[in-house]
């Protein structure tokens, strides 16, 4: 059981949760995640450790409500409620060292997981340029937090409602053209990570992406999270979730993400029906 200490909608449909998890907080490192199960009948949901406080024994999660489980989490779980199971930290930590200048790209809800990585890279003495992108202004969050750990923060929106108009790959390309990038981290929707990787390869700059395939146990036991990297099968939960972006088989990754789309919709419908019953 893990108690929820605080919840807050930080932008449209994206929520911040602070939960009590002292063991995880004391061990957490940038790049790792946890798995939680809301209740007895719940599925296991992987979520990145977006922040943590070892002294307070808490971790911060940022959740985008996309389907049945995440919707249920933001709609039915509030301050003081208990989450039935929480396990972590899982996955390998980001390889934090002094690279020189690092560009951290966070897209959509990926802004949250990029934050602790940018912070750690900064603390390790890197120059950190952060690019945060979203479709619209109301889907941006944590810009102040990112600003505090970056030497430069670039914000983009698809529709130009805030910051630069356009996709995150555009400022990324400019930085690469200016030739001052030693390493890139990109976290966000698969398509964004794919295009960031293609851009990085053009300039021969190494890029790390964080893959978020479907997972169950998160301990290497089931293999549902397998991804193909440099022609080899890897389990994202134990060999990742971070991999070299230019070596990922993105088509396979996207196909596997969509594996349960029809059933996910069915689950959401069934959930909506129970919500209506309640009203």
């Amino acid at each position: 059981m893990a108690k929820i200490l605080k919840t807050k909608e930080i932008c449209t449909n994206i929520w911040e949760f602070i939960i009590e998890a002292p063991l995880i907080a004391s061990k957490a490192q940038a790049g790792q995640f946890l798995i939680l199960r809301l209740h007895e009948r719940g599925e296991r949901i992987p979520l990145t450790l977006a922040d943590w406080d070892p002294e307070a024994g808490t971790v911060t999660l940022v959740v985008q409500a996309v389907g049945k489980s995440t919707r249920e989490m933001v709609e039915r779980f509030g301050e003081g409620d208990e989450i039935r199971d929480v396990v972590g930290p899982l996955g390998l930590p980001s390889e934090i060292k002094r690279y020189g200048t690092v560009v951290c790209v966070g897209g959509g809800v990926g802004i949250a997981p990029i934050y602790p990585i940018a912070r750690a890279l900064k603390a390790a003495g890197n120059g950190v340029v952060t690019i945060a992108g979203a479709r619209r202004r109301d889907l941006l969050f944590w810009l102040d937090k990112l600003d505090a750990v970056s030497d430069e923060l670039i914000v983009t929106t698809d529709d130009g409602s805030f910051g630069r108009k356009g996709l995150v790959t555009e400022p990324l390309r400019e930085l690469l053209e200016a030739g001052r990038v030693d390493k890139i981290w990109a976290i966000g929707p698969a398509v964004m990570m794919k295009f960031c990787s293609l851009t990085a390869s053009e300039f021969d700059v190494p890029i790390v992406v964080s893959l978020n395939p479907i997972m169950i146990d998160g301990t290497g036991m089931c293999g549902v999270c397998r991804v193909e990297v440099a022609g080899e099968t890897k389990f994202a939960c134990v060999d990742g979730p971070e991999f070299e972006g230019d070596k990922v088989n993105w088509d396979l990754f996207l196909a596997r993400l969509a594996m349960y789309r029809d059933l996910e919709e069915k689950a959401l419908e069934a959930y909506r029906a129970t919500t209506e019953e309640r009203l």
Binding site: L23, I24, K27, R37, R41, G42, E43, R44, K68, S69, R84, D85, V86, V87, G88, P89, L90, I216, D217, T219, G220, M221, C222, G223, V224, R226, V227, E228, T233, V238, D251, L252, L254, A255, R256, A258, M259, Y260, L263, E264, K266, A267, A270
Partner: protein, 467 residues
């Protein structure tokens, strides 16, 4: 005395009915049937069955008590050597253990030892389970990693020696393979829950959702004041065929398939949140218990045709005879001497499998004849689901995060018969030491390790204990 040549039959759910539910298939003996079967035992002096049992249950003695109607006496006798009889009675491969050497079995069918073991255990559940008192407190604290049969048995036994025990389990439910692997229709989860409850009642603390090696390391367990650590983390890493197309949508590892259904209750989706998909034509690759479980589960989820593809012949299949028999009754098709070479897909989704025919050559290291592909015999089968059930390997997490722990080339922890490893204070047993094996072997290893841990603690810290 007249000898009854055949085992007293056990009632079962009829195949046509049971493939539409997840309830247990064999229904167990009534007291009358059990007594009748127990009377078949010749009570032979030599009792080869005891040697045939990996934990040397005093078989003729418990059977005699059943024959006399003393069911409490029977279960007490079994529990002197076996903590998990309700489970072992259901899942042990008796036909290659106790029943293989039964004297009666030389001419007739052997005594149904497994069924009688199950009967006695089930009877106890109805009548009330006796929990033996824990030993006098020693003040020693032992950490047990993993709550499979090895960990549960080791923990229970350590309590009998009087040590304090905490089990650390990575998943949200205790039981190991017993909960995530073996399906409900073969081992009802309420039985596992009950066994775990018994271990808790002995005073064992079970901490779920702790991944040793991540949440806490073995070194940190010692730093936290544990005097010894038992590693019973099993062989949970699914092996793949390493052929093209293995990551297509529709290709499962048996672990994924069975975990979704058993641990996550996907067969009750959407009442439970975790989904599962099974197509019309399912190929299961492998010939062990895991393959049988996956095939029979697929049928129950509504597959029209389920085919087991095995690269040797029926004689070499490692599955329990009863499982093969049940699978056949239920309509699972067996294709022997075939091996997949490639999965075929369209837009990332499985559409078929290309196989090659095999023939048996010279015996290999396992003593079984090695399957050799017949060149040019390739053919394809249309399938929309494939389940890979070719075995599991030990998980590298604990060895990797525990300095000084010697590991074999196969990734198993190196330990002697008592579970003593290369690292002082660290003991190991079960599948993590042997590679994927059986429940009873894991249990026996847990029990012997408890003995070794007790001896180690007393030798190291003296007789007075930790206090």
């Amino acid at each position: 005395m007249t000898i009854v040549p055949r085992k007293t039959p056990m009632r079962e759910q009829p195949p046509a009915e049971r493939i539409r539910n997840f309830h247990e298939v064999p229904l167990g003996y009534t007291p009358e049937e059990a007594v009748q079967e127990a009377k078949r035992c010749l009570q032979c002096k030599r009792a080869p069955c005891i040697q045939g049992c990996p934990v040397n249950i005093k078989i003729p003695q418990f059977i005699r008590r059943i024959a006399e109607g003393d069911f409490r006496g029977a279960i007490r006798k079994i529990k002197e050597d076996n903590y998990l009889p309700a489970i072992c009675g259901r899942v042990c491969p008796q036909e290659i253990q106790c029943e293989a050497v039964c004297t009666l079995g030389k001419k007739f069918e052997p005594v149904a030892i497994g069924r009688l073991e199950r009967f006695a255990a089930d009877w106890e559940y109805e009548a009330g389970v006796e929990i033996p008192p824990p030993g006098k407190p020693t003040g020693f604290r032992v950490a047990v990693v993993g709550s499979g049969p090895a960990g549960l048995t080791c923990a229970a036994e350590l309590r009998r020696y009087g040590h304090e025990v905490t089990i650390f389990e990575a998943l949200h439910e205790p039981g190991g393979v017993l909960v995530y692997g073996i399906p409900e229709f073969r081992l009802p989860k309420c039985i596992v829950t009950q066994e775990v409850e018994n271990v808790r009642r002995l005073g064992v603390e079970i901490r779920l959702n702790v991944v040793v090696g991540r949440t806490v390391t073995v070194d940190e367990l010692f730093a936290d004041g544990f005097h010894a650590v038992f590693v019973g983390s099993g062989a949970g890493l699914p092996r793949f065929l390493e052929i093209p197309g293995e990551s297509l949508v529709g290709v499962y590892s048996a672990n994924e398939f069975l975990t979704r259904v058993n641990l996550m209750r996907a067969y009750l989706f959407p009442e439970y949140d975790t989904p599962i998909k099974v197509g019309r034509r399912v190929a299961v690759v492998g010939g062990g218990n895991v393959a049988m479980d996956a095939a029979r589960t697929a049928l129950r989820l509504g597959a029209e045709e389920v085919m087991v593809l095995y690269r040797r012949t029926e004689a070499e299949m490692p599955a329990r005879a009863e499982e093969v028999h049940h699978a056949k009754e239920e309509g699972v098709e067996f294709h022997f001497l075939v091996n997949p070479v490639r999965f075929l897909g369209e837009d990332g989704v499985l559409r078929g499998v290309e196989c090659v025919r095999m023939e048996l050559g010279e015996p290999d290291a396992s003593g079984r004849r090695r399957p050799i592909p017949i060149e040019g015999s390739n053919f394809t089968m249309e399938v929309d689901t494939a389940i890979i059930a070719i075995g599991n390997s030990p998980h590298p997490l604990i060895p990797r995060t525990t300095p000084g722990l010697e590991v074999s080339r196969q990734g198993t922890i190196v330990a002697d018969d008592l579970g003593v490893t290369s690292r002082e204070g660290v003991f190991a047993g079960g599948d993590i030491v042997t590679g994927a094996a059986t429940v009873i072997l894991a249990m026996g290893a847990g029990k012997r390790a408890a003995y070794a841990i007790d001896r180690y603690l007393r030798e190291k810290y003296g007789r007075k204990g930790a206090g």
